[in-house]
Amino acid sequence: MWSDLQLGKYEITVLSAYAVALVLIVALIVATWARGRRVRRQLEEAEARLGRNRGEA
């Protein structure tokens, strides 16, 4: 079964297709996660600030 891993003369072709696709997928995941985290933190800060201001008023 592991003989299926022998890519032969198309080794670079197959590996480069997988590499490009995986890089793009991982980049999308990282960008989604990073923006989600940033927006969530900013929202929590804004809510805390507004709650505090309302309490002071």
Partner: protein
């Protein structure tokens, strides 16, 4: 029970939060199993050799590149007709995912085409309409970024989405419409699997399911972020007004 209750951001956040707890691990398992099976445990094909392993990336990403736009079309129509903000934000959230899938399909297709067709690219009806679809994705994202008012941005991007749908449909059916070019017709349909041997069929089905779940997961995560960003903008505006 009405589907429109999910247009309420609070209900959407609660339901999507529950769904994501299951979707994230399931997506990860299916994608890893499908891609590892396709890459490591499938035999070379008679004519394509080992380049056949590229179909496990190319076919699911091409399907999603087209269908993501159609999902955006439905969400945009809901926005235009019923003015539900969540649907406009879901369309916005889906665009980067669809663009990434379209780009993966274009690149993996070119990499496969070089040894098989003897060229990276041909101005074939399907390839050309797919490239135009990718350009529409970029235009759609640029339009969202360029317009300050979110409702105006949602209106204009919805219209752009309607126009771009022509190319999403052309990408799918160009081979049938023109019957020319290098790209072959569909090897897979819901009713027919005889074009694909079992050795490729099972991992391909797992990959397609994994990619679909990946799309749903990403769209849910990104829509949740868009809903939070919209609330943040409203809070900051209220803060500025004192």
């Amino acid at each position: 029970m009405s589907i429109w209750k999910y247009a309420n951001p609070v209900v959407f956040m609660r339901t999507s939060g529950w769904l994501l707890r299951w979707l994230v691990p399931l997506t990860a398992v299916l994608m890893v199993v499908g891609l590892v099976w396709g890459f490591a445990f499938t035999p070379p094909e008679m004519r394509q050799g080992t380049t056949v392993k590229i179909i496990f990336l190319h076919v699911p990403s091409a399907m999603l590149g087209i269908n993501a736009w159609l999902m955006m079309l439905v969400a945009s129509l809901i926005w235009l007709v019923r003015r539900h903000h969540v649907s406009a934000l879901a369309a916005k959230a889906a665009a980067p995912v669809g663009a990434t899938m379209t780009l993966i399909a274009l690149i993996t297709g070119a990499i496969w085409g070089e040894p098989m067709w003897g060229t990276w690219w041909a101005w074939d009806p399907r390839l050309t309409s797919f490239l135009i679809l990718f350009l529409f994705y970029l235009g759609y994202l640029a339009l969202w970024a360029a317009i300050e008012d979110p409702d105006t941005a949602a209106d204009l991007t919805s219209v752009l989405c309607l126009v771009g749908s022509v190319f999403a449909i052309l990408s799918r059916y160009a081979v049938n419409f023109w019957n020319q070019g290098l790209h072959q017709g569909p090897s897979l349909t819901l009713m027919q699997k005889q074009h694909v041997a079992d050795a490729y069929w099972y991992p391909l089905m797992i990959c397609i399911t994994g990619f679909i779940l990946f799309f749903v997961t990403m769209v849910l995560l990104r829509t949740r972020t868009e809903i939070r960003a919209r609330r943040l903008k409203a809070l900051l505006a209220r803060e500025r007004m004192g």
